[in-house]
């Protein structure tokens, strides 16, 4: 019995218990704790011979431990936050919560492809229950689109996985896959499959619908933890040198995604929607990091760590923001409580000495070291866009929360813990700590600050002279939702009523009757005639 088994089993058990005794929701909320513990003190990986195609679980690299750790942490805090929310009491919600959690943790501890796929699917599908929890048309439509794309992604991923397995000679261990090149189809299928989860452009369409529809803690884990799985999949499944397409393409795609998300995020009217677009934007950066790693396979280890840190940073900050946005919908943040929103936002925007700043520094360094250092200015411009989106989001949250009752700490302490942790994170993690040394130099500081200042200027300008609504509106259109409805209608087209075969057409019946009459009237004469005819056969014989 290995300790790793507890990682998925505990949430499952908690779910079962919670089904029977709904009051014990806390168990579910705390279910990621074994995973967190194992991320901190990891035992060796284990082979589990009796599970599907024999699997191997563990988290040996720092990369994996970071991922597992922040995911478990985010899930724990979001779970605790969700427990404080009175409207999230249904057993169904907690069941799906636990199942998504199981899937998410499983894919993180998976060392073999099958387990990863199992976890990935479980997470994907169970998340549907989280998105749809609040009921009503918007969640339903969002959920439908999500599910349609999730299933599509699942199937494409399956095909890609099969092709990849064929290429790798049916070896399931992911670590073995890095050195084996892959074909165009495999690349396309895997990237589509994972991309639909990761949500970079143009596969992001479900994200802006799902996040606002889901309850805030769910959005937090969705954005903070789950969509990372898509990028993780790409990272693990593709060879170190990337797929069939040139890494530059992926880099461009990532950057475009970053800008696209930011741009659309600026036009949103809902805080959570703006945050969702920001997630799209951030996923673009993650994709860009992956592309960088493909460009220079030698630097894979370092870029991998960067990827993990970026993900960690984004998870904590975005998780906090989503949870804050959820609270802001019903409560007013006053005084220092505003910091619970501002700090994560600023971190995301890349304020020095916060996690974002540290990560940005590392990212820029990485770009600088690569062949595409001439694209560095794009990253800076990206920071401006990110900051603008977050400004928009904060502004929207502020506008929402004004009318509501004050926020009490007893209702929001998990958020507070999360913010604090995100503040502490760069100091606790050695790699980030090193990056932050840069911030104490003026050049480093300026490099991070000027995009923020530009963004602040633009934001103020827009705030002072807001552009007319109609310029924004096109940004809010959602063709994907309409398409999803269309697909549903197409599928549910009723079958034609089964056409019963006609019991004998009249013409045919008439002939039959005539024949019957013929030989029933004169059986004797007819038979004798037949006899003669048969005798006539003698002529031919």
């Amino acid at each position: 019995m290995s300790l790793w088994l507890f990682v998925p089993l505990v949430p499952l058990l908690a779910a079962v218990i919670c089904l029977r005794w709904p009051r014990l929701r806390l168990l579910v909320a705390l279910a990621p704790l074994p995973a967190l513990a194992l991320a901190l003190w990891p035992p060796a990986a284990v082979d589990i011979g009796w599970l599907w195609f024999t699997s191997r679980w563990g988290a040996e690299s720092l990369f994996a431990r970071y991922l597992l750790g922040f995911t478990a942490l985010l899930w724990t805090l979001a779970g605790l936050q969700a427990r404080l929310n009175e409207s999230l009491r249904s057993r169904r919600f907690w069941l799906f919560w636990a199942l998504s959690l199981t899937g998410n943790l499983l894919l993180l501890i998976a060392v073999d492809a099958a387990s990863f796929y199992v976890g990935f699917t479980l997470m994907s599908l169970a998340a549907y229950g989280l998105i749809i929890e609040q009921g009503g048309p918007a969640p339903r439509q969002a959920g439908r689109l999500y599910l349609q794309l999730a299933i599509l992604g699942e199937m494409l991923l399956f095909a890609g996985l099969m092709l990849r397995l064929q290429e790798t000679g049916q070896v399931l261990l992911l670590s073995e896959w890095l050195q084996i090149p892959t074909g165009a189809w495999t690349t396309a299928l895997l990237l589509l499959g994972f991309g639909l989860k990761a949500g970079f452009w143009p596969l992001h369409v479900w994200l802006p619908l799902a996040h606002p529809a889901a309850p805030a803690p769910a959005s937090a884990v969705l954005s903070g933890a789950m969509i990372k799985a898509g990028v993780l999949g790409v990272w693990l499944f593709m060879p170190a040198s990337g797929g069939a397409l040139s890494p530059a393409f992926w880099l461009a795609l990532g950057l475009f995604s970053a800008f696209y998300g930011a741009l659309l995020g600026m036009g949103q009217q809902q805080a959570k929607k703006a945050l969702a677009y920001s997630s799209i934007s951030q996923m673009g950066y993650l994709l860009a990091i992956v592309a960088l790693a493909w460009q220079q396979p030698d630097a894979r280890a370092g870029l991998g760590l960067l990827l993990a840190l970026f993900a960690l940073h984004h998870a904590l900050a975005k998780g906090a923001l989503f949870m804050g946005a959820g609270l802001a919908a019903h409560h007013r943040f006053h005084g220092w409580q505003q910091l619970m929103l501002w700090l994560p936002a600023l971190a995301l925007a890349g304020l020095p000495l916060l996690s974002g700043g540290a990560v940005k520094t590392l990212l820029k360094k990485a770009v600088y070291d690569s062949d595409v250092s001439h694209w560095l200015w794009l990253f800076s411009l990206g920071s401006v866009a990110t900051a603008l989106v977050l400004a928009r989001a904060l502004w929207l949250m502020n506008r929402q929360s004004r009318a509501h009752s004050p926020l009490r700490l007893s209702r929001s302490w998990p958020l507070l813990v999360l913010v604090v942790l995100s503040l502490l994170a760069p100091w606790l993690l050695s790699s980030l700590r090193a990056a932050m040394l840069d911030h104490f130099e003026l050049s480093g500081l300026w490099a991070l600050l000027w995009p923020l200042l530009v963004a602040a200027l633009i934001a103020t300008a827009v705030w002072r002279w807001p552009p007319p609504e109609k310029y924004w509106r096109f940004l809010q259109a959602s063709p994907a939702r309409r398409a999803s409805l269309g697909v549903k209608r197409l599928w549910q087209m009723p079958a034609k009523p089964a056409s019963l075969p006609k019991p004998g057409s009249p013409v045919w019946r008439g002939w039959e009757r005539r024949c019957n009459r013929l030989w029933q009237r004169q059986p004797l004469g007819l038979t004798v005639a037949m006899m003669s005819v048969l005798l006539l056969l003698g002529w031919f014989w």
Partner: protein, 97 residues
């Protein structure tokens, strides 16, 4: 043409005549007579064979006797059956009226 052959042909002709009668006629009594004429045709053939000049054949003659009796018995039954059927038809018709 020898006598035997002539009567053989007559027999065949009778047989075919009977066949033709059975083919065309509808009245039960006529049909029965047609069958009898067919029979006579066969017996004629057999007899012509039996009395071929070089070897008169008692076996064949005995066969004809047997055949005659069989034919007569069958005819008796057929006639009775025809009458009974006719009787039934009449009765049904009367009941129908």
């Amino acid at each position: 043409m020898s006598q035997t052959l002539f009567y053989l042909l007559v027999g065949a002709g009778l047989w075919l005549l009977g066949l033709h009668g059975l083919l065309c006629l509808r009245q039960p009594l006529r049909r029965i007579m047609a069958v009898n004429i067919m029979g006579s045709g066969v017996f004629m053939v057999m007899l012509a064979l039996a009395v071929r000049p070089d070897s008169p054949d008692p076996v064949l003659q005995a066969l004809i006797v047997t055949g005659l009796v069989v034919a007569a018995s069958a005819t008796a039954l057929a006639l009775r059956l025809a009458s009974a059927d006719r009787d039934r038809a009449q009765k049904t018709a009367e009941e129908g009226e």
